[in-house]
């Protein structure tokens, strides 16, 4: 556990000082400022415009950061040969990967909380009211979604040999998971696919993570959950199970890799 903590600390410090990460922070602040300007320009429904566009921007920048950082870190370690410096110490590959994953996830969640803090400050300064669902969404649901996105992006970091394919594959997987419900619906009801393929699609969409669960507003619109506590409990467990699964896949892929 000590080694995992040390590697997580090492990862966190390295990324916090990285120019790319600082660039993401600057971009997120600019986007919140942009949302604020847009809200002021509209005149009417200022609160609605600001909150809705902030929801979009905060999630967008958090996901982009998660995919970018998590799908490139181990590749960067291998390409720069920094991995030799770390793995020649008494650290197992499991400890290295888990530490890296934790450090990266904390790093992205820290960025998310920083933007959310700025957003909350602006809403409180201007007296905008945030509902309980919105607070939960900003402070917990997006964080859980970040953990899941980090975990599947991390798989490609341990598998791919260069940045570009890892980024492309991670974003592709993100879009598949994000729109899995619509894709399943389209494939099983509207497409011309063979009948025997439909159960296959159903099974695939059943086992793959469905990011629709992280849309708190939609989940309550369709009355999927009775209360906020049952929803958050379900979501935490859902995220935990899939993240562990992706971490195991990362470990298998990394163990097979020649360094």
């Amino acid at each position: 556990m000590n080694n995992i903590k040390t590697i997580a600390w090492h990862t966190l410090i390295c990324w916090i000082r990285n120019k790319v990460y600082i660039g993401f922070i600057a971009a997120s602040f600019l986007l919140i400022a942009f949302a604020f300007i847009c809200a002021n320009i509209t005149g009417l429904f200022q609160e609605r415009v600001f909150v809705d566009s902030s929801i979009f921007f905060i999630e967008l920048i958090s996901i982009i950061t998660a995919v970018f950082i998590c799908s490139t870190t181990v590749i960067k370690d291998i390409q720069s040969k920094e991995i030799y410096y770390i793995l020649s110490r008494p650290i197992s590959k499991f400890q290295f990967l888990t530490g890296r994953f934790l450090g990266l996830t904390i790093c992205v969640i820290a960025l998310h909380l920083l933007i959310t803090a700025l957003f909350t400050l602006i809403t409180s300064l201007y007296g905008f009211e945030l509902t309980q669902k919105m607070k939960l969404y900003f402070f917990l649901v997006i964080s859980l979604k970040i953990i899941l996105v980090c975990s599947f992006s991390f798989v490609f970091s341990t598998y791919s040999t260069s940045f570009f394919p890892a980024l492309i594959l991670s974003f592709t997987l993100f879009f598949i998971f994000e729109f899995s419900e619509s894709m399943n619906y389209w494939l099983t009801f509207y497409s011309q696919t063979a009948v025997f393929m439909k159960p296959v699609y159903n099974f695939l969409f059943l086992i793959m993570p469905n990011l629709v669960y992280y849309d708190i507003f939609y989940m309550f619109d369709i009355n999927k959950f009775a209360s906020l506590s049952s929803y958050t409990g379900f979501l935490a467990l859902y995220t935990f199970i899939y993240s562990i699964l992706f971490l195991i896949i990362s470990l298998i892929s990394f163990n097979k890799r020649s360094l």
Binding site: N18, Y84, Y85
Partner: protein, 238 residues
């Protein structure tokens, strides 16, 4: 006495397209504790691959490697060894003292002890004024010296060096030779090198690798002094 490194029938191959390349071919070696061994061979002979197998960066298809009696796949086998690669790649975002702290935490050494070792090793490698500098701003020579200081941090019993003189200026080379001479007989040194002079000065034993196999082992002083001829004979070059 337990051997520092014991390798039994080690083979490692990889795929180059559809062609299978045998990089290490059935090597068996025994490196005794507190000996200084030089590993020599032409480029592509398998020296670095062998070192990577010892450090568990590569998983050999056949054979066994033990480090002080522990299997190399066990991460604790690396507690008493250190590795200095050809090109030292430290984390550029961290300052030198943070690298020492990082290692202190990994080896569970107190902050006070870490600071003491840091001062001693920085003096040895002439880096006293660079504690607060990010390693990314170091010159190649400074990075190599920092690599040496950090590789000695855990007071290893086995130091593995992969072509440590590559790309260093004469001053940097002299510093490395002086440090290794100082360490000789206090710990096991396993050095991959292309320099006959370096091998002659340092080694009690020279292993010549050719086409992935151990082509020759030189142990007596006369053979080591005549390393050039023995090397060319082993790799079949007149």
């Amino acid at each position: 006495m337990v051997s520092a490194i014991e390798i039994k029938n080690l083979s490692y191959s990889y795929l180059d397209g559809i062609k299978k390349v045998l990089a290490v071919n059935n090597i068996s070696l025994n490196i005794e504790t507190n000996s200084s061994v030089a590993l020599m061979g032409i480029n592509g002979a398998g020296k670095t691959t062998l070192i990577k197998c010892i450090l568990d960066f590569l998983s050999p298809q056949k054979g066994e490697i033990s480090i002080f009696g522990k299997k190399s796949v066990d991460s604790t086998s690396r507690t008493e060894l250190s590795y200095l690669p050809e090109k030292v790649n430290l984390t550029p975002e961290l300052k030198l003292f943070e690298h020492f702290r990082f290692l202190g935490k990994l080896y569970k050494i107190s902050n006070a002890e870490t600071n003491e070792r840091m001062k001693k090793l920085s003096a040895l490698t002439k880096l006293e004024n660079l504690y607060e500098t990010r390693v990314g701003k170091f010159s190649k020579g400074q990075s190599q010296r920092a690599g040496i200081a950090l590789s000695l941090f855990n007071e290893p019993k086995l130091l593995i060096l992969d072509e440590p003189m590559t790309g260093l200026d004469p001053l940097g080379q002299k510093l490395i030779i002086d440090i290794l001479n100082e360490l000789k007989n206090k710990m096991t040194l396993f050095v991959s090198t292309h320099s006959f002079e370096f091998a002659r000065k340092l080694a009690d034993k020279i292993i010549i690798i050719h086409k992935g196999a151990a082509a020759s082992e030189l142990t007596n002083k006369k053979d080591i002094q005549d390393i050039e001829n023995n090397f060319y004979k082993a790799v079949n070059i007149e």
